[in-house]
Symmetry: C2
Subunit: 344 residues, 2 copies
Amino acid sequence: MKVKATSIDIAHLAGVSQATVSRALRGSPLVNEETRRRIQAAVEQLNYKVDKNASNLRRMHSGTLALLLFEDPTPDESRINPFFLSMLGSITRACAQRGYDLLISFQQFSHDWHADFADSNKADGIILLGYGDYLTHRDKLDKLVAQRTCFVRWGAVLPDQPGVSIGCDNFCGGQAVATHLIEQGCRRPAFLGDASSHYPEFFERYRGYADVLQQAGVVIDPALQVNAESTESSGYEAMQELIARGAGFDAVFAASDLIAIGAMRALSDHGLRVPQDVALVGFDDIPTASFVNPTLTSVLQDTNRAGELLVDCLLQLIRREPAESAILPVKLMVRGSSLRAASR
Amino acid sequence: MKVKATSIDIAHLAGVSQATVSRALRGSPLVNEETRRRIQAAVEQLNYKVDKNASNLRRMHSGTLALLLFEDPTPDESRINPFFLSMLGSITRACAQRGYDLLISFQQFSHDWHADFADSNKADGIILLGYGDYLTHRDKLDKLVAQRTCFVRWGAVLPDQPGVSIGCDNFCGGQAVATHLIEQGCRRPAFLGDASSHYPEFFERYRGYADVLQQAGVVIDPALQVNAESTESSGYEAMQELIARGAGFDAVFAASDLIAIGAMRALSDHGLRVPQDVALVGFDDIPTASFVNPTLTSVLQDTNRAGELLVDCLLQLIRREPAESAILPVKLMVRGSSLRAASR
DNA sequence: CTGAAAGCGCTTACAG
DNA sequence: CTGAAAGCGCTTACAG
């Protein structure tokens, strides 16, 4: 076995034509059962594998999807939000189940997009994943649409968006958090996270939260909102800033769990106890949320369902079938960090 | 622009032969500067991208590496160790810098390997990454070697291993932890993690740790070692088990940070304080380690260097150049969870 | 520096 | 059910 076997080698060995080998391997019904077995035996004997490049070239599709993870540049580029890890896992699994391979690429906004995965036929379609400044790359999405590239993105589902988006119900999640905080007797909750249209997911969370507060007659104090992106250190700094402002607060809704974990540390550094002095709630329900001390109340997104939906929608687009944006439900997971009653 | 442009379209538009287009695009020096510019203009006008399938087929290589992440099956399959996330990030970056794409696949030991990425020419080589039962897949490594598949793996670097491995200095890391614990006055440290040849990385950490303890005259009590795999919940359970055994301990070396974080929670549930009652040290230095309460002492592995080395070694193998296994240094990051002096 | 031509390893109408 | 043949879109000796 000096060199890789080809379908011609198999054909010789099995005593059939190369075309028949190909048919048998692609599972065509037009192959005699006995012939198929002979071919199968030859395949195993030579440890033959169909050459994907040749196959893809001929079939004009790649059997591969590309996942582009984009995040705002961080000092340490190797950091990825654990929430995306979870999505990554479910997307990979969904791809595998559907017979597709997954190409992955981390994008920095500063760089040019590798959207040419699709153009160069390396992938049949792309999945876009990432927290990050949405408005900044909005025009790139338009370009993808113009080029008729197949893509789906995870993120806020809003009217007037290019292409298909799948996202969780951020607004509803924000509402659930605010309702819970009010039930816990909090009257001056703060929000840590960017609350602008540049970050539509955080913004929706904020809007849902503010909506409930207003209905409950709680005044929204601008001093109680501090920008933060989704990292622990950003959360830490945002909390420092909040404390420095001196506006009293009795609860914190962090726009993501990483922010919450950073905030928790800052609170601790300042001698503030969670939840006795400050009730704390995050978002994403990353695995660590259940293990920090105190355990962190958070909003669970169904990443398994999300991954499947992203892949299925993309495959629909690739087949030129209609596909629709969708919003997935979320679930508030109440834990120690926001339970004031339990902590006396 | 109804359909994707090919190099022939470019050739027509630029008034040259298709062969010249190809040469220009591959950066051949045998192309007149003026011709090159004309071709470049046509490429941009038609938004042309070289078809990778055709190119790869012709060139007999794919410009793609495959990353196989294997872990023991867990109840929630979407979990990935954050340490691997970090590796994933650095590997992706290293690939991108070197002009390679990265295919990724999660493997369960139960399933068959997708090692055919390489056989089917979808990838030129594969990178193996994962904590997991090493002995179980040892024969698969041998098979890869027999098939002359190019691969490198991240993990323990031991004599008599098939192929090229890159790993961190687990033994040395274990030594550093034990030395530190002894300095902190601990006399009965426990180890949480599998300490057998099935899990060579954990085992090396254990061996380094035990080595120093013995030299310091500390008796190694088998009751103070509990098996655990690298998840929070496994760490939690292991700690429960350790406490249940009733053998006194004053420190815990968790074989990974996830184990440590789970253990921390169990300690807290039992009213044991870290570090006052129990000094705690993890391994991997995942980002969260700096943010849990108290901050977690851990052993830092240089994932950036590791990712680069893995990719570079693999590329050497692909070029049929010799490549050698390597061990990377580690660094103990001392934080609050093990500082007894600081906590009075 | 450029073009004509062969060929990478498949898949799939077409004809039997 | 099977084979001969064309062709997917490139790359690269070969000849000028």
